[in-house]
Symmetry: C2
Subunit: 300 residues, 2 copies
């Protein structure tokens, strides 16, 4: 059955709302003896967020025939990993940001030490939730853990942030900028898709390659629109400080290629991502297509 | 074969030296595109350290018949997790320490932002190394990941550090102090033993309970001797700042129960740990016994 666009959005919104409740339950089961740490983690994980990465897990799962119920632990894990990265990136020694999702950042609310620990504990939670999950085979979950870890550490997100820091005030060409973004945000977006599709061990190499290409385009598109919004939008709409990259003299896709070219690149990536997921049967790729539109048209 | 004490020490030292080389190789295989982050991680992980937790993994493995070669990834993982915790604990917003293992702490050498990222990447590496390991069955490795994560986050080490922070300048009774230490250091010591013994799925419940009791006593003993050394030793010998707890007005086992009583408790824990590992055949428990002596007699 091919759903109309409005029905897709309804599947989407329904899944997102159900996920919020699953995520809150999951965290509730894993709280520990420090109330302030529990609170800081809850604040960082549950207060807002578009749940893009969770929705990528579910949409990739849908594409390979795995229902949402079999992927909630993976989705919780990737959102915990993403939340940890935001908390640490916002710290004074990093981006020193005070606003996130329209609210005070974790260290503004809980102090720097507890924010540091909250980020640490969120990263641990991501792996703990997968390790103690009952969803899927142990072999599938090990692949999901490997995908998540490979996207996050020395070869992924942490390296991207380090490359970013090392280039403050220094020139960067477009290729280096793309590399940096690929590590900083693209890898976790790719991991989300992978954590979804590995749930079906019978996937063909062609389908895998298509989904990997989809994730690659989407990750880059996400950063291009981020850079466009940083120039065009306001802090009120974004829920985080706008214009920050220009203020910090940071190179962006827009500063390096110009706004018009950045828009053209975004349109190319949109088309490529839609083409890439055509390896999936039409009645299963709707959510992946919806995500492309949501991401490339996002306003915040 | 029951080894004489000198032969035990020789097994011990030989294993430790071989492990150092394995750990350096492991990190070498997982470096990423940021040179400064690679360097900061290498500095934090490879420069010194007694490798107590790795030796616990190997000794518990020896006790259940698993050779060192089948547990090196677990040992690397637990040392990476421990190294992450030291780097973050030393940060200015936490304990603000400048000396570790006789050398400048990671943030003194690399700056606060890179030290933060190095700690983050070390935690990720711990899970990545286990997830991508070829040692043991996938089911054993999943148990090891669960043990490591359970000991480290909201229910373990991060919570212990949060409880510690929340009590600066406030009174704490002995029970609360023991709870705090159990989370802060005891849980990871217990996880080390568990990561070793789960490698043998055929272990009897009695053997498991004995090893858990052993690990519990050893974890507490470790903290008691730590508190005694903080009072009695010098920074030169310790390789980290001595007398810091008294200076920061932090409660310790010594300040709450007195030096003489702390010594008596240490002796009791030593005997209990030795008694607990008697569930293991005599010719396999030598390394566990050696660790008890090394820890309770340590000078730094």
């Amino acid at each position: 059955m091919i759903l109309a666009p409005s029905a897709q959005l309804s599947w989407f919104e329904d899944t997102r709302v159900r996920f919020e409740s699953v995520l809150a339950d999951k965290l509730g089961q894993f709280k520990g003896p420090s109330d302030v740490l529990n609170d800081a983690v809850e604040y960082a994980l549950l207060e807002g967020g578009k749940r893009l990465r969770a929705m990528l897990v579910f949409s990739a799962g849908h594409a390979v025939g795995t229902p949402m119920q079999q992927l909630t632990d993976s989705a919780c894990a990737i959102e915990a990993m993403h939340a940890y990265s935001l908390v640490h990136d916002d710290l004074p020694s990093m981006d020193n940001d005070v606003l996130r999702r329209g609210k005070p950042t974790c260290h503004v609310k809980f102090g720097e030490a507890f924010a540091l620990l909250a980020g640490d504990a969120l990263q641990t939670a991501a792996f703990q939730w997968l390790a103690q999950s009952q969803q899927g085979s142990v072999s599938v979950r090990m692949q999901q853990i490997a995908a998540l870890a490979g996207a996050s550490g020395l070869q992924g997100m942490a390296a991207g942030q380090a490359i970013d820091l090392a280039h403050v005030g220094k020139p960067m060409d477009l290729q280096a900028l793309e590399q940096m973004h690929a590590r900083k945000t693209g890898d976790l977006i790719r991991a989300s898709v992978r954590m979804g599709y590995v749930s079906n061990p019978g996937l063909s190499p062609v389908e895998q390659e298509g989904l990997e290409a989809y994730a690659h385009c989407l990750g880059l598109a996400y950063q291009v629109i981020d850079d466009i919004l940083d120039v065009e939008s306001t802090s009120d709409v974004l829920g985080k400080t706008s214009g920050k990259d220009a203020l910090n003299n940071k190179p962006t896709m827009v500063s390096l290629m110009g706004l018009e070219q950045a828009r053209q690149l975004l349109e190319q990536l949109r088309k490529k991502a839609l083409a890439a997921c055509e390896v999936i049967e039409q009645d299963r790729r709707g959510p992946l297509e919806t995500l492309v539109e949501l991401i490339t048209n996002r306003k915040s």
